[in-house]
Symmetry: D2
Subunit: 281 residues, 4 copies
Amino acid sequence: MIAGDVYKMESHSVSNIVQRGGTILKSARSKEFMTPEGRKKAYDNLQSLGIEGLIAIGGNGTFTGAMIFGNEYGIPTVGAPGTIDNDLYGTDYTIGFDTAVNTALDAIDRIRDTASSHDRIFFIEVMGRDSGYIAIQSGIAGGAELVMVPEVLTPISQVVDTLKQGWSRSKSSSIIIVAEGDEEGSAQEVADKIKLQVDENADIRVTTLGHTQRGGTPSAYDRILASRLGLGALEGLIAGQKNVMAGIINNELVYTPFEDTIRLPKPINEDLLRMVKILSV
Amino acid sequence: MIAGDVYKMESHSVSNIVQRGGTILKSARSKEFMTPEGRKKAYDNLQSLGIEGLIAIGGNGTFTGAMIFGNEYGIPTVGAPGTIDNDLYGTDYTIGFDTAVNTALDAIDRIRDTASSHDRIFFIEVMGRDSGYIAIQSGIAGGAELVMVPEVLTPISQVVDTLKQGWSRSKSSSIIIVAEGDEEGSAQEVADKIKLQVDENADIRVTTLGHTQRGGTPSAYDRILASRLGLGALEGLIAGQKNVMAGIINNELVYTPFEDTIRLPKPINEDLLRMVKILSV
Amino acid sequence: MIAGDVYKMESHSVSNIVQRGGTILKSARSKEFMTPEGRKKAYDNLQSLGIEGLIAIGGNGTFTGAMIFGNEYGIPTVGAPGTIDNDLYGTDYTIGFDTAVNTALDAIDRIRDTASSHDRIFFIEVMGRDSGYIAIQSGIAGGAELVMVPEVLTPISQVVDTLKQGWSRSKSSSIIIVAEGDEEGSAQEVADKIKLQVDENADIRVTTLGHTQRGGTPSAYDRILASRLGLGALEGLIAGQKNVMAGIINNELVYTPFEDTIRLPKPINEDLLRMVKILSV
Amino acid sequence: MIAGDVYKMESHSVSNIVQRGGTILKSARSKEFMTPEGRKKAYDNLQSLGIEGLIAIGGNGTFTGAMIFGNEYGIPTVGAPGTIDNDLYGTDYTIGFDTAVNTALDAIDRIRDTASSHDRIFFIEVMGRDSGYIAIQSGIAGGAELVMVPEVLTPISQVVDTLKQGWSRSKSSSIIIVAEGDEEGSAQEVADKIKLQVDENADIRVTTLGHTQRGGTPSAYDRILASRLGLGALEGLIAGQKNVMAGIINNELVYTPFEDTIRLPKPINEDLLRMVKILSV
């Protein structure tokens, strides 16, 4: 918008992209848009191009920018929640989350294959700076012994207890999922702390998935969610919605003010957290 | 139950199976259980083993058997919906459906790769004897031009029209998803009918996915759903539920009488059907 | 070449395509190139564009065209073997073959998951009009009971015998791979013939993979092979090679005259065929 | 062997395991076997069980043990090369290598998806304590900008130069593969060193694949290789071979004395190393 780098998209513009990860728009965070001058340029460009509404895809950073821009210039904007962390209030799931969970799960499954042949403790770091959603869902689905998330305190002593209980039941190996934002540090840091507190012969291994979770062919769930939310954002815009995010809650399309999606925390799913404990026994 | 082939499962009995397709129980349809004599044997075995409740995993055939058995002998049974077709009333999704959709989607993606290089009409047959759920979800996610399902009449003439419209917009190739229970027949039969009505040089190809959709590593969604429903079935049984199926509707655990899951049809999702039309333009 | 639809490719022209199936060139079979007039146009275009050499990617059809064109106009051409069937003399493997085998194998694995839970006969049709390479390699890798290929006669009576031997050893289910060019017909036709000769209650299922085998993210093996053969074709052209195909035999780059790749049959690997028999016991 | 934990395997003992990662034997490194007492126990057990030959699956550690045991007690042993690192003299490829390369490649592909949308430097650590095989093959197949391997010195200054050259050609992002045994340290350590030498705003990310490379469904190539080598080991043993490893060189089965596989280094493939440089331009 700031550079006026705009082109019209027809239906054939999106042919054969549905199976690709990443973005064909190549949009990314813009520092210039955070300045009044940048936003002025963007507004002038939209004006001269006759563009009367925006759909913003992203998370809280994106929506904060869109809200400020909307307040300054009155351009109606509807948001679509696109972030793998699933940390947005106003929707059950965000676009990219299901794919990220399956990518993390694939890594857990592969490690589990080797876990059955050797005695080891594996730490796997998944994304989630403020949110344990990926950690919890991939941990349940992968049968992890423990999941460490930012929303819940899991002191090192509790990790050690869990490991020792597993050994006492002669479990051959243990898999612990660490969300990157856990208060005990990264998976490597947690592993280093654990090493000091268990048998020195324990074989401790760390996997850090990093940006692998942000790419890959999107899952069916994500594509259908994206289709519904994209259509919902468009139809909302046409119907006069502005400064709201389109979301799906309990299978229904809902619009939540940007203000709320930005301000309100998304509570962690207590049911799933309870299930981690039950299933890891 | 009839053969008394029973063993006690501990937590380690299910270690390292979470990533596997198929069933470790190797249970399957039993003709003997459809007879009063077979059920009598089953009841006697349960009695002598001190088994006081059952969890039945399956679809309407399974639940019909469970209901009759429950009525005859009073053994409380709670069902967990396990069928890839997602055709059960009483739950938004069934265990196996998400994995089956992703398997069908992978096939569509692969065919789309070749569709971009050659001019062709592809017919892909997916499962769904009475239900178009797999066809519709994989069709939306895969960007199919048309989806043919048992619940909606799609005459051959409409298929031909859709193909001709695509050609007039110079689409290079078309992908049509056919649920196995469509009223126009199998994908091969539909393809044979179409061949007579379009240009004789049209290059028509058929893929029949068959049982590939029933296997494979389960997706994260399916594993979490199975964990929730398995726990729900168990806790329901403990709490005194009987002759009901555990399901998830709008993220809430619900119990629906077997009678209703068997008798009531699951309506097709009209929203998704509308989206197929919008997205295929 | 005929339409003069030519653009210069730089290194960034191929950025981020290495993981994609299909072709970004969108080249395909051309009927016009089979006529002297079509080839004249192609030559005139190459002349006016100053193009002095060609690399042709494909199979025997492609190389036949390239050879005729080279003989008529003297333009040097080096071929790179790109066909999933692996039926080209002059190279151990062709580009696309390893990916196709893995795609077929994934289908076999998924079906095997369900095979362990039910008693069934599965027929899986893989590509190979004149060649059993995909069938044999996926059959060994997937542990199939029998592989039916064009190069070897496998009468229906032998299929029936194999099935009966399996049942007598109480195998629960059987997987039979049928190359599309087998002399007994398609997988569906073989299944129909078998149905008449085994127990009428036998549960027979057919999967036809079709063009799924031509798409999908290429495997590591295929990408490295394509890199070696592409470089080999280019360096051959620069060094003055013409009317030859670049191939890899026993890990060495070799150039084989188009005449031989077209005329000589690629023998089936007898070692692998022997292994199918040993492993299926 | 030491514990006498032995059971007879029939053909059905291996039914439905071909698609699984890991080992059903659950064998692992044994400290006791490194002592004369341990080997004595093993020999006594073999004697009393009437076992006259061994097939040892593994790498140099396994073969060293087998050779010592063979020298002490005369039990003939033939080895099958099973290690993902492909660092064994006497065979072109080892069992597990192709699967590990494809797993690493999948991670590179996923990261590449995000690389196209943002400006970043990605470091991906793959396995290979003494060997750069996985790094080089996945690097070529994934189109990495640079590959750092133990066999070749790649000073940090060269990494910085490569990055700067890429930026000068306006590459949007760079992927660098680091074998775990590289002389500059782990991927994290290399990243930390680079951070000090490039623009402080550079966005540097690290992925450590770890044991994910040791698990997962084996590729077609690996299963066929394992079938050939397993059969080769068995037929070698029957034919009187001892203290040798079965390998495949240029598509031919060869037997190499354990002494040589242990002592001789496997040279890195110079052709592939040259190709990394050509393709990364």
